[in-house]
Amino acid sequence: MRFLRQVLAVARKDLLIEWRSPARISGLLFFALALLLLVAYANGGSTFLLPQIAGSTLWIGLLLASTRGLDQSWAVELERGALEGLVLWPVMPAALFYGKAIANTFVLLIVLLALCPLTMAIYDVGVKEDYLIFLGLLFFGCSALAAPGTLYGAITARARGSSVLLPLLMFPLIVPALMAAAKGCSALMSGDIFNEAEIWLWLLIVFNVVHWSLSGLLFRYVVEDT
């Protein structure tokens, strides 16, 4: 119970900081939105091609925005030495990780939920049924980016050349999640003829289970002195 309270306290703290500096989250949103528009323009607004790439572009946009967001979420902790304060405060390291990862999931989810209608308008697609599966894909896709991203963010924020290192570590790792989320969303947007969206949702869940448990176990080694 104490653990859960701490997780919630950390998550609440991060979300409060996001709430008090709304420029950051809207920055992420407009970054991803610009990317969506650019891809649409680069393809010349082709009515044939755009609906097909809507799902993948949405997730690539979110992925690129997420590296900025994850970087920022750790920069806040390092700015005034708050991270060491958290480690030395009576907060369990795992609770610190899960709290931050949950907060990052929500930040990504907010950006994604704002992006979805815009994508559907620009790329002329829509989801007609299976709303639950679609929402599941969105949620578990965000949490799949947040878990390894939060762990690696803690590493790279304190290393040299962090802006290159985070994508370098994170991008290959989240390929399965990205593929599942993008393919699942694409399938739903084009009517899901092969009934594949549910398979992709299950893959995302497996990815989440593995990475959320593993990162939680390893996080303590990353933040503590040895």
């Binding site: 309270r5 703290k13 700015e79 005034r80 030495g81 708050a82 060491e84 030395l88 405060w89 040895t226």
Partner: protein, 228 residues
């Protein structure tokens, strides 16, 4: 300054290195509950490293620290709640205001606090709503001190507590430290200003290049004699 019982703080041969340099080498001392120590030394003499070892931010490469009879590093999860460490870094969130900062830290540590009175104690106006980003360095130090005031510590570590504070703030801080420590907490103050800290402390230790070169009662401190 020999704390004879297992209670209190026992530092035995503690050493910590960074790369090829021993930042702290074979530091040994014992403090009984309620004893207060002043730690002096030039910049880079190892004061902060020693304090960070005591705060469990660093693991000693050699030697052992025992607090209340238990190895501090092994039982760090349990002891961290009873160590108040006032460091150079204010450990604040720039985007939140003073009250929110205190509330956030209280919620994380599950302390119940009255943010209003804490802010008044450290001499900050309690009803300011600007984010901490707009605060001056001295105000940040005060707020950072309010953050450790919510703890009920057994060991209090202050690293240059008087820096960036005005003279009035220094006397205020001395009083606050007194109430924070009470009669039972062990206090260690690392400082360049032995004159200000002297009223707080019973003993003195002077460090040079990571080693303890002088120890004794606070009033025959070599720095004080040299100054007069």
């Amino acid at each position: 300054m020999q704390g004879d019982s297992e209670a209190g703080l026992h530092v035995a041969d503690v050493s910590r290195r960074f790369g090829r340099r021993w930042a702290v080498a074979r530091a040994s001392f014992s403090l009984a509950p309620g004893e207060r120590l002043m730690l002096t030394g030039a910049n880079g003499s190892g004061k902060t490293t020693l304090l960070r070892c005591l705060a469990t931010a660093l693991k000693p490469d050699h030697g052992e620290i025992r607090l209340a009879g238990e190895c501090l590093w092994t039982h760090r999860d349990r002891h961290r709640a009873s160590i108040a460490y006032f460091s150079h870094a204010p450990r604040l969130y720039d985007d939140l205001n003073a009250t929110d900062n205190l509330k956030v830290w209280a919620r994380l540590g599950e302390y119940s606090i009255d943010a209003h009175s804490l802010l008044e104690q450290v001499g900050l106006p309690p009803d300011r709503t600007e984010p901490v980003r707009t605060f001056s360095a001295g105000m940040r130090r005060r707020l950072a001190f309010a953050r450790i005031l919510m703890q009920k510590p057994r060991l209090v570590l202050l690293d240059e507590p008087f820096s960036a504070l005005d003279p009035e703030g220094r006397t205020q801080l001395v009083k606050l430290v007194d109430t924070l420590c009470g009669d039972t907490a062990v206090l260690i103050v690392a400082t360049h200003l032995p004159r200000t800290a002297i009223s707080l402390c019973h003993h003195g230790i002077h460090m040079e290049a990571g080693q303890i070169t002088w120890r004794g009662a606070h009033d025959d401190h070599p720095l004080l004699k040299g100054a007069t």
